[in-house]
Subunit: 128 residues, 2 copies
DNA sequence: AGCTATAATGATAATCATTCCGAGTATTGA
DNA sequence: TCAATACTCGGAATGATTATCATTATAGCT
């Protein structure tokens, strides 16, 4: 686990790029931009360095924590709890907060139609 | 867009399965279970019917609305707004609610370490 | 400066979830 | 019963991501 990273021009430029944008880019976006400076850039390099930057705490990945989709026949509005150890998803029996949409809309000045909350932690089973 | 669905044994059984579980299953989980009743079942059938059930409002998909990961160099805790038209993600300048973790933890009786909120709607650009 | 250890690179192949296609089957309505 | 068309399986195609590997770059040491 002990890894001492060496610096790389590619990774430095990548962080610079990421810090200069607010667009929450995809790996592909980064690849296209970075290729202007490194004409032989490979996708593997982008992904590897994203992983390192995340490990270093400079970057966050915005995903669901799972590589595949999950489905729910409970179509009432409710929130989810995701166990970081076993990946189990369970419903959170907490009142749905409609006022939140208005609050966020007011702040950001856009039309908010819905929202979703995921809680992360350790479920009872994994918590021993 | 006008499609009149015919009933199918596979889809009926699928909905039954989904309604009988709280595990928020993956397509693969459904496939494995359903194969007990339909030995020649194909993955395409599972995905197609999931799409139909979602269209009919019987099932929800739990995903991020995007097929690829997105990255963020803003590592402070903040919420996101996702435009349902153009897919743009922007930050929501709203105070991060630490109390929410405790509230959810109390309700579900598990250890909540963090949470995430995504708001969905139409961004200013797309809202004409 | 050279020497050594090892992290990083680019190219390509592999993986994994998901979608698409096409020929045959099941369901519906008349 | 018949025609129209949605649904099926199976396999091939796709798209994002990850792994492999020979070569190159970086860092620390003398």
């Amino acid at each position: 686990m002990e890894t001492r990273y060496k610096k790389s021009r590619q990774r430095e430029k990548m962080l610079e790029l990421l810090r200069a944008t607010e667009s929450h880019p995809s790996a592909d976006w980064i690849y296209e931009r970075l290729k202007k400076d490194f004409k032989n850039l490979s996708m593997g390099t982008v992904y590897r360095n994203l992983g390192i930057l995340i490990d270093q705490g400079f970057v966050r990945k915005i995903d669901f924590g799972s590589t595949f989709d999950r489905f729910d026949a409970n179509v009432t509005r409710h929130y989810h709890f995701v166990c970081e150890k076993c990946g189990a998803i369970s419903d959170v029996e907490m009142p749905f907060d409609d006022a939140l949409n208005r609050k966020a809309g007011r702040v950001g000045n856009f039309e908010v139609r819905s929202h979703r909350i995921e809680f992360f932690g350790v479920c009872r089973k994994c918590g021993k």
